[in-house]
Symmetry: C2
Subunit: 331 residues, 2 copies
């Protein structure tokens, strides 16, 4: 948002219930009362409800349900994550935008948020259902000191951060689990997914982009047929709408914390947190590898590289990637 309306908004927020006159605002910011009036109109056009009474002045009654940087920055407690925010009403893909910013030198933690995506993609090229103004679609630029071979562990670590944020938003910690490698489920239904892009100079990561989609307020009844039985949203499981800006701040906080740990100790230090969210240990699953080969086995756990360990026909085997389903289940 341009400086004028942003300053007026910040002043109204600080004032809370106390009305601020146009004179107060114009003096505080060294601008004319006409400019203050224009800034208030700009804010109203963006959906801010601002009461104006002739004698009292202006009061902020409500903010729009939009993920404007001003909405997210007010109360954001992270050190680096989301400190540079880019907002788009609609884009083809937040990952594409974030990758361009990364190539141009965007800092560690820069985030791109879009209200809607026209070409959002899920795993294996599946189309990601991205209705506007209901959910969170965010892509985060990271500049970790990392080799490419260590990158998968960072995807898994970020799944822990997303799961923690979803659990906090839901208020039922046990209901939230991670489906290896990167889906977050509530009551067994998919609520969030993570994609990654990276740029490497030789075998070193130069930049990484985490693309995170979380179903917040969307009504699963409107999902396309193929998702309906297997997906959900935070609001649907909680029974009330989610404050999307507050959720975004919480997500940034959880992610910053887990990624800082990962940078310090490597994924090894995250494994207990991952396994606490990973309810698949000892369950029988079938894993389909990228080349189509299918392996049935019992889940033994996750190793320090983030690989899935399965006992297949009495032998422990290690899988770096693949699509896991519970044996006898469609999910």
């Amino acid at each position: 948002m341009s400086a004028g309306p942003a300053r007026v908004l910040a002043a109204l927020r600080r004032a809370g219930d106390r009305p601020l006159t146009g004179v107060d605002l114009s003096r505080a910011h060294g601008v004319s009362r006409t400019q203050v009036w224009k800034d208030v109109e700009t804010l109203r056009a963006r959906g801010y409800r601002i009461e104006a009474s002739a004698g009292d002045g202006y009061r902020l009654l409500g903010a729009p349900d939009r993920l404007y940087p001003d909405e997210i920055e007010a109360g954001l407690e992270t050190r680096w994550l989301g400190r540079s925010l880019h907002y788009l009403d609609e884009t083809d893909s937040t990952n594409r935008v974030a990758a361009e910013l990364a190539r141009e030198g965007a800092p560690h933690g820069a985030a791109v948020i879009a209200e809607g995506q026209t070409a959002g993609r899920g795993r294996l090229g599946r189309r990601f259902h991205s209705p506007p103004y209901e959910n969170l679609y965010v892509s985060i630029v990271l500049r970790p000191t990392l080799s490419v071979a260590q990158a998968p562990a960072w995807i898994l670590a970020s799944a822990v951060g997303v799961a923690d944020a979803v659990a906090a938003g839901l208020g039922r910690d046990d209901a939230v689990e991670i489906k290896w490698p990167n889906d977050v489920l509530i009551d067994g239904l998919k609520a969030a997914g993570i994609l990654m892009e990276l740029g490497a100079e030789a075998t070193q990561v130069a930049w990484m982009v985490l693309g995170i989609g979380v179903n917040l307020n969307v009504d699963p009844a409107g999902f396309p047929e193929e998702f309906r039985a297997r997906a959900t949203s935070l609001a649907d499981r909680r029974g009330e709408r989610v404050d999307r800006a507050a959720f975004t701040r919480a997500l940034f906080g959880h992610l910053e914390s887990v990624l800082d740990s990962c940078a310090k100790q490597g994924f090894r230090g995250i494994i207990p947190r991952f396994e606490a969210r990973f309810h698949m240990r000892d369950r029988r699953v079938s894993l389909r590898e990228v080349d189509g080969a299918v392996h049935e086995g019992r889940v033994l756990g996750i190793d320090p590289d983030g690989a899935l360990l399965l006992e297949v026909k009495g032998t422990a085997r290690r899988f770096l990637a693949g699509d896991v389903t519970l044996s006898g289940s469609e999910s």
Copy 2:
């Protein structure tokens, strides 16, 4: 190139020294003689030297020194690499363009070639010196069946392909070596470099872009001060200019071959070829890790994941990434 000029060009190429009349050409393609004349003018504007004599007709005397798709496709023997070609006179970065094409679904082997790059980058963010019309800047879209952790081996395998193409173009096999992880040297001077970007769905690679820059005809005397003592070009070492289109075809062939092997057998099958080009075994080097830590040691080799093995203070150690210099050298 649009269909008309491309067809005229192909016909003139096939005819070789034999002149083709405007009537021949207009009949063969079912277009007017005026259209043939326009197509010839288009080709001339692109730098093709076409002789026209009233009685005899048209003859192709020479092609411009440009990496037009038509120039590369004529004689290209690959199955998949370079079969979809995108040509740009100038771009900020061929990797950026290729990554966008990859996201939009470009096929395995699609290639983006630019005559010049305004924002070409080398390792560790160093600016890559990219003078136009002299060298080769190409980015190739790959869609391997691979986990992210296996991606570094593909970068190393592609270095083998680049080194083989450089050696073939030079005609002195022994002079060409790979500096782990991804530089190709002639007589110890840098002639080519490789960057990679990838998109992942969870821990699986969805697409990969290899960005390859090869110094072909550039005069090292014009390099910026900081490169001059350590870089060279194929023409400089060979003493004559390189046919850039022919080099590009050869590069595509060598790369396709080594990447096909990598897809079939993994990097393990490429190690002997990598080690034959890797003249560092038993030499003392210092390796600077991404976090700044420096290790002095003796090179033991490369492992199946593409990691560098060093003997440091009597212990074998494995490094996934880093910047290697010969001990006591600046290179």
